[in-house]
Amino acid sequence: MELYSDFKIKEDISRLASIIGSEVKKPFNIMEICGGHTHSIMKYGLNTLLKDKINFLHGPGCPVCVMPLKRIDEAIEIADSPDVILAAYGDMMRVPGTDSSLIKERAKGKDVRMIYSPLDIIKIAEDKNNKGKKIVFFAIGFETTTPMTAALIEEVIARRINNVLFHVNHVLVPPPINAILDSGDNLIDGFICPGHVSVMTGSGIYEDIPLKYKKAAVIAGFEPYDILSGALLIVRQINEGRPAVEIAYKRAVKEGGNKKAQGLVDKYFTVREEFEWRGFGNIPKSGLKLRDEFKDFDAEYVFRDKLKELPGGKENAACKCGEILKGKCKPDDCPLFGKACNPENPIGACMVSFEGACAAYYKYRNF
């Protein structure tokens, strides 16, 4: 199996699209939760291909997009402390906080480093040039990336490194989905559930979707064939009136997920009472923090005096990201889209990350 090309073959895609077309009675609203799916859908024009059959709604599954201004302001505040190296993933660098972004802070001379793997932090911490500095990792991501942060903590402790701190922004997929479904006024018929998250968690975390809310839920991979297969299973669940969690990504996802990763996450993290989501506000039990016994590694604890005085961030009132993330409108319904708000000068959450729905719409203008 060629992992790159075999899931893109033109004939397979046309065949799947026409099967979906013939089985869809009226246009269905399907929300893909993950930003990776949104991106693939736009890149390959699957929304245009299935026009009038499936209306793709773009969910809250881009961890960069849902980070509230306040958390970015905190990272900037921490980076401003003496002898601090702030390390963050690449797509976090450009995200605007209230007045600045990490990339702008770097330009001002703050020591902000871009990393790709959390284990890069070890290298920075052990570099003798960084002796006496605190390395603060702006840890972000869903269930997919949390185990990597946990693995880093494990390594830091094993190596007795004492100058690495964590600003933990890890969030969970199910709570915002439940929040959307609880709001009642949604039109969603089914969900394409994230593939990579499910590799870690297994399929159990989506059970509320069919059981409590009677909606379809299919875990899918990220290639065009994966997404259309997922959409077809959703269409069939709806037609047959049997909502369930199904896996259309069996080459990667096991029902029970990755137990080792789950154990590692559980060892270091616990669920917060609530966490603020950009566009949603506070969602109960939706984010993670370090367990109390590891509070000496917790940047929120170590810098608590400095962070205490930070005001909450204020969003642009015209921005429709909140509505977009809940599936209530599309990026091009926003008055700022493509005008005041664009990838060079992002205003809303969904434009800042490459995976955000607005960024995907802007980049891949299909027609």
């Binding site: 790159y4 961890p63 690449g90 660098m93 997919t144 005008k339 027609f367």
Partner: protein
Amino acid sequence: MNKKKYERIQLSHGGGGKETSELIGRIIFNGLYGQNGRSDDLYDLHKRRNNNNFTVNASGQKIKLLEDAAVLKSPQNIAFTTDSFTVSPVFFKGGDIGKLSVAGTVNDLSVMGAKPLFLSLGLIIEEGFASEDLRKIIESISEEADKTGVIVVTGDTKVVPAGKADGIFINTSGIGEILHDGLSVYNIAAGDIIIVSGNVGDHGAAVMSLREGIEMDVEIESDCASLWDMIETILKGGIGVSAIRDATRGGLAAVLNEWAMAAGVDIYVEEDKIPVNDSVRGFCELLGFEPYQLACEGRAVFAVKPEFAEKALNILKSHPLGKDAKIIGTVGGNNSFEAETRGAGQTVGGRNIKGTELKGKVVLKGIYGVNRLLDYPSGELLPRIC
């Protein structure tokens, strides 16, 4: 020169005194002219300064080195260009900053139909830079210059304090003799065929894969190469060429967008025809980049008249640097896309594609029959996390 003492470049190497001339003699002159017998061993510049030994033969002229300026007999029509080079890391698979600094300027001249003749070489070196690395860089400058027969006739070296530069910065300017005039982006017209000389994005992927924060072990080599020889075969082959450009920063996407905008045309490219190395494709999928927006350093894009397209392709394919050449698209008239398929004032993805805002578009025809715009890359390319 005491080897141990000068393992690393020091500020005094840029001071204009004895150390400077030793650096120039030992590393730069030796690297550039020594090996090929163009000059004597320049071990002690000061002693030999007056005996007229510092000359190189270039394009039938004897040019004196070590004067304040190189005195050149210029051909009638010349092309003149300059480019500065900064790359991190300085050494990468398939090349280094030295090779890049020659190929880049050679290619800028070549795409204008000018045979590259003379180069200047300006070096800004950070204090502490390894002398051995500088020697390697100068060697690859010399090697790459030989491929086209271009000669470094003037230069300058400065050393800046540690922390004030990223290892080494190089500027090269180049003079070329116009052998084929009339190449211009403004010649591009509806009906022209777009050809690319090889896989796109190799250089960008090769360099980014080594960058701090990414560091992936991928089998991607930079495509860095001097293109004059390949371009000359096309120009000599009697091909009706409207314009040529080397795809550098911003990759294929930037070239096509600049052309579309400058010539006021829409350009249509078929996605499955654009040649991309599988490793580059995989690298891009993983990090969320688009291969068409990654830099190339040895690829030319041609706009040729339709009746010459096949012949041009065959000529390119028979050249080692163009063996993977492909016809990737065609040029349509200004706003031809809207005129054919949509009414005036229509928007695509919320942006007005009519009128000034998006005059001159690049349309990527996807494999599933859905079209999308291929935009300029914007901002710093930052990898995604998941």
